[in-house]
């Protein structure tokens, strides 16, 4: 009995603590009844809050391009290293996990001179942040892809395809890739969620994205910024919950 009481006390107290800020955001953002309709009215939103509209579009573009860049750089390399260069694999793994021990604020300090060159060659557009973001998501994406590759017999698959006369491109794209589809998908989901929440690098390299725009807006219009925060949060929740449901479903199947 004592254990059940303890269990429900803990769960209730924690539930209140974690739900309260979300409830407060709903209450705060509905104080002005025009806030939520405004968010759904894109033309009016981009006319009234141009910086916010620019930030939203920048974040969506960054999420899409980072995902593509991450997939193109990481997936073929991870497969290739497993198949042909097992000795190089520890180095690739080390480099991919390195950003975990380097706080984003530290990475910015080192990236600032590199981005001086990026500015020089390709300009200061906010889409150039995708280079830094690809580095930032490497650990998470690598783990997802690596788990997927460990679960299948890459070598046998590749040898079978090779013995039937396919080239390496076919092996990677048409044989191995379809077998790690769910791992690649979860890497992509994580990438999108992380990029949509990124603030540190964008703000300190003087570029814009959703979070920078929200922070900027917070200084002038608290209600709208809280409403946009809540909307962005719900989007991230949906993305990550879809991801974890997909994960547990996959776990059940195997």
């Amino acid at each position: 009995m004592a254990r059940v009481a303890f269990r429900w006390t803990v769960l209730t107290v924690m539930g209140v603590f974690f739900l309260l800020p979300l409830v407060a955001m709903v209450e705060f953002s509905t104080r002005d009844p025009e806030t939520w309709p405004l968010l759904l009215n894109w033309p009016k939103l981009s006319a009234d809050y141009p910086a916010l509209a620019v930030g939203i579009l920048a974040s969506l573009a960054q999420a899409a391009v980072t995902t593509v860049l991450m997939l193109v750089l990481l997936v073929p390399t991870a497969i290739w290293v497993r198949l042909r260069l097992p000795k190089v694999r520890p180095l690739v793994e080390f480099l991919c996990l390195l950003p975990l021990t380097i706080p984003a604020i530290v990475l910015v300090v080192g990236l600032a001179p590199v981005y001086a060159w990026v500015n020089y060659f390709v300009g200061g557009s906010s889409i150039t942040l995708v280079f830094a973001y690809t580095v930032l998501v490497l650990p998470f994406a690598y783990r997802a892809v690596d788990t997927g590759l460990s679960a299948i017999d890459v070598k046998t698959l590749a040898e079978a395809a090779r013995s039937l006369g396919s080239g390496w491109f076919t092996v990677i794209v048409r044989v191995v890739l379809p077998n790690i589809r769910s791992a690649v998908l979860s890497a992509a989901f994580l990438t999108v969620a992380l990029v949509l929440g990124e603030f540190t690098i964008a703000s300190l390299l003087h570029r814009t994205n959703l979070q920078v725009a929200i922070e900027f807006l917070g200084k002038s219009s608290a209600t709208v910024s809280v409403a946009v925060s809540l909307a962005a949060l719900l989007l991230a929740f949906v993305l990550l919950i879809v991801l974890s449901i997909a994960g547990s479903w996959k776990g059940k199947k195997s």
Binding site: R3, F6, R7, V10, M14, F17, F18, L20, P21, L22, A24, M25, F28, V72, P76, T77, W80, V81, R84, L85, V88, V92, L95, L98, T101, I102, P103, A104, I105, V106, V108, V109, G110, L111, A112, P113, V114, A132, T134, V135, L138, W168, G197, F199, T200, L204, Q211, I214, G218, A222, S229, A232, L233, A236, F237, L240, I241, S244, I245, S248
Partner: protein, 287 residues
């Protein structure tokens, strides 16, 4: 056999795009921080000046506050997170509640930055939901000054992502505890107190400490939440680095920023090394 070396070279060629990218955007920035920390402003050769400047009172104070903030949010997060994880473990292992809470924890552990800061502004900011409710009932949380934008406030906000992280990393260790051990302790005449202090406690200690260290590193590296919440002054190291980065033209402090960044990396590296040591012990005892 003659074709072998050529093939090896060809195989390496396939990794060139990855290594080229990682070199430019990860290795060079890391080296920039390390080398810059030991270089004078204006690129004037090797110097220990920047690292010595870390001993300045205001920087030492910032490191002190960063460590206090990280430690207190890690301790609170570890204790409350462990309680929550234990509450989950006592339920059905495949129950809906446990699945829902772990999924939510996975999401909330990632939740930080500007949106989290605004969530708390809407909750206990000066015109927040809870603040107003309390004031209507004659209680003013800010009667002795506004603490939300200082260390106590940051600690509170950080616990919001620390507790879920603790649940995620501590749950596997709790799952490693077998019910037979409790039965053995009971059948030998041990009380619940004996079981927790002599059996489960010592077994879980490395996992608990390791998880707490991970939480510490997590809070220590956090920047966005504090940046959005604290607009005046730079109480903690990440905000000091922001100051050094944004005012580098005026004060020529670019490489002092690099030295502080290096200091952060050293702290995180030490903490993570201890973490992996404790992790090995956990895997041995509860794996």
């Amino acid at each position: 056999m003659a074709g072998r070396p050529r093939l090896r070279g060809g195989a390496l060629l396939g990794t060139v795009p990855f290594f080229a990218f990682v070199t430019i955007f990860l290795v060079i920035p890391t080296l920039t921080v390390i080398i810059g920390a030991f270089t004078g402003d204006g690129g004037s050769g090797f110097t220990l000046e920047n690292v010595r400047a870390l001993g300045d009172d205001y920087i030492l104070a910032a490191f002190g506050r960063s460590i206090t903030l990280s430690a207190s949010s890690a301790v609170i997060g570890a204790i409350l997170g462990a309680l929550l994880a234990y509450a989950l473990v006592t339920g059905k292992p495949d129950g809906l509640l446990r699945r829902a809470v772990t999924a939510a924890a996975g999401v909330l552990a990632q939740f930080g930055g500007v949106t989290l800061a605004f969530a708390f502004l809407a909750t206990i900011g000066l015109s927040g939901f809870v603040t107003q409710w309390l004031q209507e009932h004659g209680l003013d949380p800010y009667a002795n000054g506004v603490w939300l934008f200082e260390l106590p406030g940051l600690t509170l906000v950080y616990t919001y992502f620390q507790i879920p992280l603790m649940v995620i990393v501590f749950l596997p260790a709790l799952d490693g505890i077998r019910p037979q051990w409790r039965e053995a302790a009971t059948s030998l005449g041990g009380s619940t107190w004996h079981y927790w202090t002599r059996v489960a406690g010592p077994l879980l200690a490395p996992a608990f400490l390791g998880s707490a260290l991970l939480l510490f590193a997590n809070a220590f590296s956090a920047y966005a939440t504090a940046a959005a919440l604290v607009s005046q002054g730079s109480p903690i190291v990440p905000l000091q680095i922001r100051g050094a980065l944004t005012s580098e033209v005026v004060l020529g402090q670019a490489n002092l920023g690099k030295a502080m960044a290096l200091g952060m990396v050293v702290v995180v590296a030490v903490v993570m090394a201890l973490y992996s040591l404790l992790q090995k012990r956990t895997a041995k005892w509860l794996g």
